[in-house]
């Protein structure tokens, strides 16, 4: 009886606290070794891409989690790196992994006609030399 009670309590803790901890741990573990940037797709009227400017370092792998937080479809295009997600449905999250291989300012856009201001739904990726590399070059 005692052991079964202990088992039941253990299972209850596992089902609650364990679930929360496991979910948070798994999410962190998935992104290990990568810079993660959460990019929210929002039509210009409601605030446009958040963040609107993404600063990256050349040669450093990055993971973009592009989340559509609205009730209209959006898309994502970073033409200079040949990256595109044709459609991100409302509520969906798309994960894009890439490593910027050159420096500069590169615009990204929404690819779906989401609103009258769709054309203005754009942001910039700014890629600079990595701090480490820049100092070693010197």
């Amino acid at each position: 009886m005692r052991r079964q009670e202990a088992l039941a309590v253990a299972l209850a803790v596992l089902a609650t606290v364990g679930t929360v901890v496991a979910a948070l741990w798994y999410d962190r573990h998935r992104d290990a070794g990568r810079d993660v940037i959460e990019l929210l797709a929002i039509q210009p009227k409601n605030g446009n891409w958040q963040p609107n400017e993404i600063r990256l370092e050349r040669g450093r792998p990055v993971r973009l989690k592009i989340r559509n937080v609205e009730t209209v479809s959006h898309g994502f295009a970073l033409p200079d790196f040949g990256i595109g997600v044709a459609e991100i449905k409302p509520g969906e999250v798309h994960v894009v992994d890439f490593t910027p291989d050159r420096t500069g300012v590169f615009p990204f856009y929404c690819t779906v006609w989401c609103s009258p201001e769709h054309m203005a739904m754009a942001g910039r990726v700014i890629v600079t030399e990595s701090v480490a590399r820049a100092s070693s070059d010197r």
Binding site: Q4, A23, R30, P90, G91
Partner: protein
Amino acid sequence: MREGYVLGLIPETWRFELTRFPWVRRLLKSRWMPLALILFNVFLFTVILMAGFFGGLTSPGNYNFGIMIVWILWWVLLMTVLVPVLSRFWCTMCPLPFLGEWLQRLRLFSVRYERGRNPYFGLNKRWPRSLSNMWLMNILFLATTFASGFFTVRPAATFVLLAAIIALSVVLSLIYRARTFCLYVCPVSGFQGLYSNFALTEVRVKDPEICARHKQKGCVVGNERGYGCPWLLLPYAFRRNTYCGMCFECLKTCEYDNMAVNLRPPGVDLLVDEKRGLDEAYKALIMLGIAIVFFVTFQGPWGTLKDWANAATLSGYLTFIGLHASWNLLVLPAIFLLFVWGARRAARQSVPLKKVYVNFSYATVPLGLAAWIAFSLGIILPNGSYLLHVLSDPFAWGWNLFGTAHFPWTPVLTGLMPYLMILTLLIGLLFSIDIALKIARQTFAEPEAAVRGAFPILGFLGATTLGLLWLFVG
């Protein structure tokens, strides 16, 4: 139709005892049952709560685990399988009062029992007599549906609702006895209770003689094998499913193995004239009324109504609440009253109007249930495929646990949907007519008066069915 037969086919007294199989009885007598099911659902609802907590207010619902599991999967399962077939089997495994009950018992698995002592931690107060009915649940359920437009699109709203239910259950469990919360407060308990009268399963005494001779009623006061009925009932005197939470404690406590779980023909409890009241009559009508409102609002062609329900504007939302509440609390009950009044006049019997009203309200239960099943088909068939998505990415964090995160939206059998809906409604109508005729005989003693009195009620049922059919097909 033959007296004493359901639809003139199956004897009302027909029973098939499921617990006659030793393994079923052993399973139900184990203290892991229903604990194991509850623990699984505790896990599931932890994920649901997390998804609601992190989902925010703006994320759309179709990619949220909480919304999909609660409002698409659970609600549909509840209406189509759990209640009509398994009675209150959801209450068996419901994780919401889990914390409250754990605090009351201070045990999860074992039984805290000392002869002559109250085993419960908590204040153990009695629930006020004036609230020991369905009225509070009627109001709370109706109030919950005011926000139905949010629950399905705003994850945080689902979180707040579920968290409120859990918090309230804990608070009430600490103040009041046993499952007071489940009995008289839980918004989804009331209709499960009423509609369970239609269900195909029941927990009942096998041989009343044994109970009559047995003085130590373990099923009521509890013993070292289990708790006294947490739903504060007298299991040895069960006649209706309404308030039996199917926790199976009485199967454990009964020293003579005299409790049984039976299969039975549908709808027989609706004919049991015990504790019938206006609260249950209103429950029946409110459920029917809400089904109609939901159809019109969420599956009908009137976008304005949907905007009102989703609170696009405050005035629109208040209009929705006003219309919704008055339709369910005033208009539909008044329309029913008109027909009942007609029935009483046609029968030319001096039965109190209230009694006629209450009795005939039970005839609307099968039709109401059918309307909800039809509504559920309209939810699950078009939207079910989203479930695959949320299973792989429950929190919308970009996960893909089972590789189905980008499964496209795939409506299933939507071409057949109208026919399934019509068929469901017609079956519901058939049962409602059957019940109405029998209740007419119960209410008006004279057989001829019963036939005369039944006609207006059949008119109400027919008109309601036609209205619903028009909503589906038209």
